[in-house]
């Protein structure tokens, strides 16, 4: 069951690519025509050894993306290309096992992700048996201890014998990552892995994610609503709003020069004790309902810069700078604006967020 050679990988090192990925859910009974658009037309690329943060509020579709990538359900439209193979054409048990082994998922709630009647070794050992049948019993044990060590659960021998209830939330989340690591993943789908944990132990898990990339070479899709933690671990940020990717780019670029008004709103709302004043905004933070959305920008009702065009034409991602895109009719690309005016001043939209 040797995985295909990495020759399948894209020339630019893309590990996974989605094109026009969409997932709609039917609301109500079988005859209902009302469709909830959880994800629409998502083009997402994750490169080898890259940490990409998918940031958005609840209901933005970010967990649906993770579930699509984990083959928990099929897409309504569009597809996923993993190392050159179309994921939803994988049919044989062997192929599906291969993909699930290379792209495991770590769940949000470490308290409910584990069976309480089994020792924590159960999940790791089972993964090893299923995905790496070439190992014998002793080797599996050895490998389980190795991954427990990597995620900082030591002494690994004792930790493996524990039951979930004997562990703290942070330790359980480390078990989640150890389970994923055991299958020699290429891409870990981490769905809000720290949101249920206490603040004092979050940093430890975030640091561990950076270490997994550096030492194990795994890419990570880090799904979060917390843009500050995304900044801390991710190379690239993709901001989702109401099922659309509205902005993407290198982390520091998106954070220092956010182009989409939603990204700007999100950034201004992050509480920061180091800032002196609280930014005031009339926005009450009501998420949109994406049931049978028509054409148009889904952020327009909340957007301070909305123009007529926003109601008629759905904006698509446009280049705002090197590797930096935003889906907004109003946003002005970096270089063009500045070169044309011959001055290096922030755009009006940027000024709004960088007051004071």
């Amino acid at each position: 069951m040797s995985p295909p050679a990495s020759a399948f990988a894209d020339a630019d090192g893309a590990l996974l690519q989605t094109s026009g990925l969409s997932r709609h859910f039917r609301l109500g009974g079988l005859l209902s025509r009302r469709m909830l658009h959880a994800v629409d037309d998502l083009d997402l690329t994750i490169h080898e050894r890259e940490i990409v943060a998918l940031v958005g509020e609840s209901g933005s579709g970010k967990t649906t993306v993770a579930r699509l990538l984990a083959m928990i359900y099929p897409p309504t439209r569009g597809g996923i290309l993993y190392r050159g193979r179309s994921v939803h054409k994988l049919r044989s048990r062997k192929d599906v096992l291969w993909y699930r082994g290379e792209v495991p998922m770590v769940f949000q709630d470490p308290y409910s992700a584990m069976n309480p009647v089994f020792r924590v070794s159960h999940g790791v050992m089972r993964n090893l048996k299923l995905h790496r049948p070439e190992l014998d019993r002793a080797q599996r044990r050895e490998e389980a201890e190795r991954v427990f060590d990597i995620v900082g659960l030591n002494p690994a021998g004792d930790m493996l014998r524990k039951f979930p209830y004997e562990m703290s939330g942070g330790q359980r989340q480390r078990v989640g990552f150890a389970q994923a690591l055991a299958v020699q993943p290429k891409l870990i789908l981490a769905d809000e892995p720290v949101s249920m944990l206490d603040v004092s132990i979050r940093a430890g898990i975030l640091n561990m994610m950076s270490k997994l990339r550096a030492e194990e070479g795994a890419s990570i899709l880090y799904i979060t609503h917390d843009i500050a933690s995304a900044r801390y671990v991710a190379d690239r940020i993709v901001v989702m709003y109401a099922g659309h990717a509205v902005e993407q780019g290198p982390t520091e670029v998106v954070l220092t020069r956010p182009k989409h008004p939603y990204t700007q709103l999100l950034l201004s709302a992050v509480p920061d004790p180091r800032e002196k004043a609280v930014p005031v905004s009339a926005d009450s933070g009501e998420p949109p309902r994406v049931i049978d959305p028509g054409e148009g920008c889904r952020f327009r009702q909340r957007c301070p810069y909305a123009i007529d065009e926003c109601a008629r034409i759905t904006p698509v991602l446009r280049s705002m700078g090197p590797a930096h895109d935003a889906a907004c009719h109003v946003a002005v690309a970096d270089s063009v604006d500045r070169v044309r005016n011959g001055v290096n001043t922030p755009t009006s939209a940027e000024r709004v967020i960088h007051r004071g």
């Binding site: 509020e57 609840s58 603040v199 004092s200 940093a203 609503h225 843009i227 900044r231 004790p273």
Partner: protein, 325 residues
């Protein structure tokens, strides 16, 4: 200085189980003045919610107040009977629970739930109740048309606002809030915080606001109390705690958050995890996780030492150590 509105004096709460008494709140003393905003910060299991329930006299077995007093407007709430409490509760102080999803009855409209609440504490006509309900909903920015909505028809932010509206039905002098924003997204969270602060300034009620997110209250609270393992670790003015945290735990909490501004720097978090309150560590309860722990921290239990206006439970600030320096 005016008499404090609420005075908690050496309050201890234990969960009495068959095998052991778990001291969830250990000799906590604090005061809340009229119109003040007190933030209580701590991680899960530090006793912050238990403390709130003890103040509001909402504890149910096996939790029990084992010692101490809660003096609210001159009377000790711990000694009051249920029927006496009924006159104080909700009229003079109210509680906003953590999860509006669970605190609202899914089978009843908002208006019906407001009516139940008012009827439990006061005899009023149906018209007056309806009028007052519409008024408080309007205060929190919800259209009165939503009076006949059911909880599932409201968004998470609106449900949490409805809970706050319910707490304001009688214009109490103290509103106790247990993580009211923890289920909300950042934008909704900021909007709700701003609104709470505006209402507080408008009506002059005091707020006790419990949260695990220290950065959230930086701009809203007057004073902050940091709790660790059932005890007060540090209590003082918000500005001084954020600018110059004294307790190593407070420092750790402040350093645990990545920031969206400024340079990107490595976070250390706090090593280890919160202690089991059934078997709290000897000496200072924080010593197993403390980066500044000294030999005596394992044996000597620190008191609260007063440094300027801040009280801090850490041997680094004990008189002996200060004399030695």
């Amino acid at each position: 200085m005016p008499e404090p509105l609420l005075e908690v004096d050496s309050l201890s709460v234990s969960y009495l189980t068959d095998t052991a008494d778990i001291g969830a709140v250990d000799r906590v003393s604090m005061t809340v003045r009229a119109g003040e905003f007190l933030g209580i910060v701590g991680e899960s299991g530090c006793g912050k919610s238990t403390l709130l329930f003890a103040i509001a006299q909402l504890l149910t077995p096996p939790a029990e107040v084992t010692s101490g007093r809660v003096t609210f407007k001159g009377q000790d709430l711990v000694q009051l009977t249920d029927s006496e409490l009924r006159h104080v509760r909700w009229r003079d102080y109210s509680v906003v629970m953590q999860s509006a999803m669970n605190a609202l009855n899914p089978m009843k409209s908002i208006a019906a739930q407001f009516k139940d609440t008012m009827r439990a504490h006061e005899r009023t006509s149906a018209d007056a109740i309806r009028a007052r309900s519409a008024e408080v909903l309007h205060l929190v920015g919800i259209d009165a048309a939503h009076l006949d909505s059911y909880p599932h028809q409201l968004s998470g932010g609106m449900r949490q606002r409805a809970m706050i509206a319910m707490a304001l039905l009688f214009t109490p002098q103290l509103v106790i809030m247990d993580e009211p924003t923890s289920a909300l997204d950042v934008v909704a969270q900021r909007s709700l915080m701003t609104q709470i602060k505006q209402l507080q300034q408008q009506f002059g009620f005091a707020v006790i606001f419990v949260t695990h997110d220290m950065s959230l209250i930086a701009h809203y609270s007057d004073r902050v109390m940091v709790m660790y393992a059932g005890q007060v670790a540090e209590i003082g003015a918000t500005t001084s705690i954020f600018e110059r945290p004294l307790h190593p735990y407070s420092k750790g909490l402040l350093d645990a958050f990545p920031s969206v501004h400024g340079p990107r720097r490595a976070l250390t978090g706090i090593a280890g995890s919160p202690p089991d309150l059934g078997r709290p560590p000897s000496g200072c309860r924080f010593h197993p996780r403390c980066s500044e722990a000294m030999a005596q921290c394992t044996t000597v239990e620190p008191e609260l030492y007063l440094i300027d206006e801040t009280q801090v439970r850490c041997l680094l600030y004990s008189e002996q150590l200060r004399d030695a320096v």
